[in-house]
């Protein structure tokens, strides 16, 4: 058991009495009460637990927390720009009414965030490649694609 210092959504968080082998997912959910990141498979094949570590998407269910000290961890709770202003992807998700059950969508949004940071104007193929690790059991992929394009368009407009 150890004490760990983590930087989550821009805040320094201390987790006491934690097994360093614990996957980040369960530290977020059980210790830090950040339950937006979801458990789906436990073996990094469904993407429901996707978070960003220094901007890169990782599967929190299979990433031991010990190696994450000093890195910037961003979860779905830290994606919005402020209390009032959502990230353009979040707004596009609402505008396209993407979610059905909604359980996978936090992971989808985090993967999409990493995609747009790298590729501001993605093609369908770019989207398929970047989102390949995220399952949606309800089958909302068509809307996910459309929402990513919408968000990319709005981001480009915002910068122009």
């Amino acid at each position: 058991m150890a004490i760990l210092n983590l930087r989550v959504n821009g805040k320094e968080r201390t987790v006491e009495d934690v097994d360093p082998a614990t996957p980040l997912l369960w530290v977020l959910r059980d210790s830090l009460n950040l339950v937006g990141t979801k458990f789906g498979c436990g073996m990094a094949v469904c993407g429901a637990c996707t978070v960003l570590v220094d901007g890169e998407p990782i599967r929190a269910c299979s990433t031991p927390v010990a190696g994450l000290a000093g890195k910037n961890i961003t979860t779905i709770e830290g994606l919005a720009r402020s209390e009032k202003e959502l990230h353009p992807l979040q707004q596009a998700w609402i505008d396209h009414d993407v979610p059905q059950c909604g359980y996978c969508q936090a992971g989808q949004l985090m993967s999409a965030t990493a995609l747009l940071a790298r590729t501001p104007k993605p093609t369908d193929e770019d989207i398929d490649a970047a989102m390949a690790g995220n399952l949606c059991r309800c089958g909302t992929y068509q809307r996910i694609r459309a929402a990513i394009h919408t968000a990319a368009g709005r981001l480009a407009k915002g910068k122009a």
Partner: protein, 752 residues
């Protein structure tokens, strides 16, 4: 009688009861007395749903805040504050079908509320007050339509009365729109009328006027889900998200073969592991739908519980456990298929054997489909807390109301000692019609002081499902010299757990298409023994048999050299309503429109094909056309799926489209590569790497159109799925001339 049938596994008994209730739309719970602490009552009688008449008393017992004196709360569905906000309670479980948006829209429509004024909250679980609080069988909309409309209309009538009295004008001179009552150009907002309306008597719901469809302002347009903002910001919504002070985390290990009991376990060793609070055996009651025998581990974190489970060693007594083998089942079914008729005759019309002999052309085919799992992305879980004499649950269930009785039976507690809070549900698909996970959480909470969250792993979720049963159909059919369908024979090989009745999803009713559309029809059935639990899976029965029926119909039209659209329309015949609900006129309308939208008859490149299929289920008439291409290596691509449905008027166009889009993907994903196999009673697939749900790159273009007929509105969560697999297989045949008779497609060498 097979010895297996005497085993104490009775999944189907309770499931049959449950499904008949779901299909009848009737609440399972006795209408026990509930004390109502509100002065205002709304007596609604003659609720929709199987002709059931219930003396519901809709009291305002919704939350503490409901007692604010300045609020207008004419019934348990809504509350209007004097500040103008309109709170609507959604009574049904939100499982991804969009009911938390659709139900309040129906109330808001009759209320004439401005949708932006509406705030939606989840209602408490109390079937005495709310009636049906389950989501199954696509019955939410049809079973609650009139109840919700009346709830809104009664409130509107009272607000109009209050305004008319204020202005001293007749009620007839008042109109409503945008959360206000209008008299000419002057208006009083609902908020301004809240106090006055509260003092009025509540009119009889049977006397209030309901809107004509032409008067709708809200229904039929597209709305984003009322909880979408919370979904995209990661707010705690789901069962798995529940947090309580001092919450502990539990796992529950059951025998991998259904029916095994605990002989011994290394409990002392487990209890010494870091973070583990307790470990104990639960005997259970032998019902897969309630509590099977197993070992519970309670720990300080989910991870500690998962880690302890890895070290758990249980010796199982498998003397009465399942030994089911898919290999043995398929071998036996292939032998049985050689017999033209099964053990029992479901229905026989005309002289099928003679008609087949006399047919100009006959076709035979043996169709096989596998068991499949629901696999909602949120694994089964439930939080339970035994406190202050009440066992309280936070449960992601599709059957919030029925779960009260199930929990009462399973845990030996009176219903009054059980409280269920409904959470958002991370996917239903029929899996959470059962409440086994809640029963397990309750059994653990009865043994452990403090709140406990039971968490299943994905592996447990795949291993302990109520599977869509596999099945086998040995078919023969014939057409006459004009290419008209004259004979249809189906020997259906399915399963039984009790030695008498088919398993859930393993029955085929005598009214199933095309029983009433062909002059000579014979349906017989043979049941094989099974102990693997089966249960309703999205569009139960239809999700598998539609593929068989609509594929074989295409075999016959192809043999006759007919255009399949013409053939299908001919089989439907003159427009009429058939017993069982199939309206051949509505069927013909969706078939005509879908072929028009899809460009039926167009010339396509080599290796491309269009496939058409129709299916009626859950009161919905759906026809679909798939465009598929297949290359020389049997790699297939589904380019486009056009869906046309008639479910009457649409409540939320975005939600309805989303359900159809999802139904297409679910149907495609399942027929493409999903199967559950079992050997020695154990399911062989452990996680998504062996149960490969479709990913984004294989998403086809899905187009959805509705014929909004004047028929009563019906559900859309299920009926778009059944035509998907046959439309795709018929398209494969059109593309390369290969007839798929075994699913998933990977079995016949196809890949994407």
């Amino acid at each position: 009688m097979n010895a297996q049938w005497t085993a104490a596994v009775t999944a189907d008994e309770s499931l049959r009861a449950l499904m008949s209730e779901v299909e009848a739309g009737a609440p399972a719970l006795p209408m026990h007395a509930v004390k109502l602490d509100r002065r205002s009552f709304l007596k609604l009688t003659g609720m929709a749903g199987g002709g059931l008449t219930l003396g519901f008393v809709l009291g305002g017992q919704t939350s503490e805040a409901a007692n604010a004196p300045s609020d207008f709360a004419p019934n348990a569905f809504l509350r209007i504050s004097s500040k103008g906000s309109i709170l609507i309670y959604n009574k049904g479980p939100e499982i991804g079908q969009g009911i938390k948006t659709a139900f309040p829209l129906i109330i808001a429509e009759e209320l004439d509320a401005l949708w932006t004024d509406v705030v939606v909250e989840q209602a408490p679980v109390n079937p005495t007050v709310y009636g049906n609080q389950s989501a199954g069988g696509s019955r939410s909309i049809p079973s609650s339509w009139d109840q919700l409309r009346k709830a809104g209309a009664v409130a509107r009538a009272m607000l109009v009365s209050a305004a008319a009295a204020s202005w001293k004008v007749p009620v007839a001179e008042c109109t409503t729109r945008d959360s206000a009552v209008w008299n000419g150009k002057r208006k009083l907002t609902y908020g301004a009328l809240a106090v006055k309306a509260s003092a009025l008597p509540v009119p009889d719901a049977a006397t209030v006027r309901l809107k004509e469809r032409s008067e709708y302002r809200l229904l039929g347009k597209a709305y984003t889900g009322v909880e979408n903002r919370k979904v995209v910001t990661g707010a705690p919504l789901f069962g798995i998200d529940q947090q309580l002070p001092g919450l502990k985390f539990a796992v529950y290990e059951k025998c991998p073969a259904t029916g095994g009991k605990v002989r011994s376990a290394n409990l002392e060793e487990i209890k010494r592991l870091p973070g583990v609070r307790d470990a104990f055996v639960i005997e259970g009651n032998g019902k897969p739908t309630e509590v099977m025998a197993g070992v519970a581990i309670v720990a300080d974190s989910t991870w500690a519980a998962f880690e302890a489970r890895k070290k758990l060693r249980v010796e199982w007594d498998e003397s009465t456990a399942s030994k089911d083998s898919w290999t043995a089942i398929t071998k036996r079914a292939a032998e049985l298929a050689k017999q033209p008729a099964g053990e029992t005759t479901t229905i026989s019309v005309g002289a099928t054997a003679d008609a087949l002999k006399g047919a100009a052309k006959t076709v035979e085919g043996f169709y096989t489909y596998p068991f499949v799992s629901h696999s909602p992305l949120e694994p089964q879980n439930c939080t339970a807390w035994n406190h202050e004499g009440i066992l309280e649950f936070w449960s992601p269930t599709q059957t919030a109301d029925r779960s009260l009785k199930t929990l009462s039976d399973a845990l030996g507690l009176p219903v009054e000692k059980i409280k269920v809070n409904q959470t958002r549900v991370g996917g239903g698909f029929g899996r959470r019609l059962m409440n086994d996970y809640a029963c397990e959480a309750g059994a653990i909470a009865q043994r452990f002081a403090g709140p406990v969250k039971l968490m299943w792993t994905r592996e447990q979720d795949l291993a302990h499902d109520f599977y869509r049963p596999g099945g086998f159909h040995s078919l023969a059919g014939g057409v006459d010299a004009q290419g008209k369908l004259v004979a249809w024979r189906n020997h259906f090989i399915s399963f039984t757990t009790d030695g008498k009745n088919p398993v859930s999803g393993g029955n085929l009713p005598d009214q199933e298409f095309p029983a009433q559309n062909v002059p000579n029809y014979q349906l017989t059935q043979t049941l094989l023994p099974l102990l693997t639990p089966c249960g309703p899976w999205r569009a139960p029965r239809s999700c598998s048999v539609a593929w068989v029926i609509q594929s074989f119909l295409h075999e016959l039209s192809a043999a006759a050299g007919r255009d399949h659209r013409d053939f299908l329309l001919e089989v439907m015949g003159a427009p009429r309503l058939l017993p069982g609900g199939l309206n051949t006129g509505r069927a013909a309308d969706v078939i005509k429109l879908v072929t028009e939208k899809a460009g039926w008859g167009q010339k396509l490149p080599a290796g491309h094909g269009l496939g058409l299929a129709f299916h009626f289920s859950h009161a919905g008439h759906f026809a679909e056309v798939a465009e598929v291409s297949v290359d020389a290596n049997k790699r297939i691509r589904l380019h486009r799926m056009v869906v046309v449905g008639d479910i009457g008027p649409i409540v939320n166009m975005s939600g309805a489209n989303n359900q159809c889009e999802g139904g297409v993907i679910d149907g495609y994903s399942t027929m493409l590569g999903l199967e559950i196999t079992m050997e020695n009673g154990r399911v062989e697939q452990s996680n998504f790497h062996q149960y490969p749900i479709l990913r984004i790159a294989d998403q086809p273009k899905v187009e959805v159109h509705f014929i909004q007929s004047d028929n009563p509105p019906t559900g859309v969560g299920e009926p778009a799925l059944p035509p998907v697999a046959p439309a795709i297989c018929n398209a494969i045949y059109a593309a390369i001339g290969h007839r798929v008779r075994t699913l998933p497609l990977t079995k016949e060498g196809f890949s994407v």
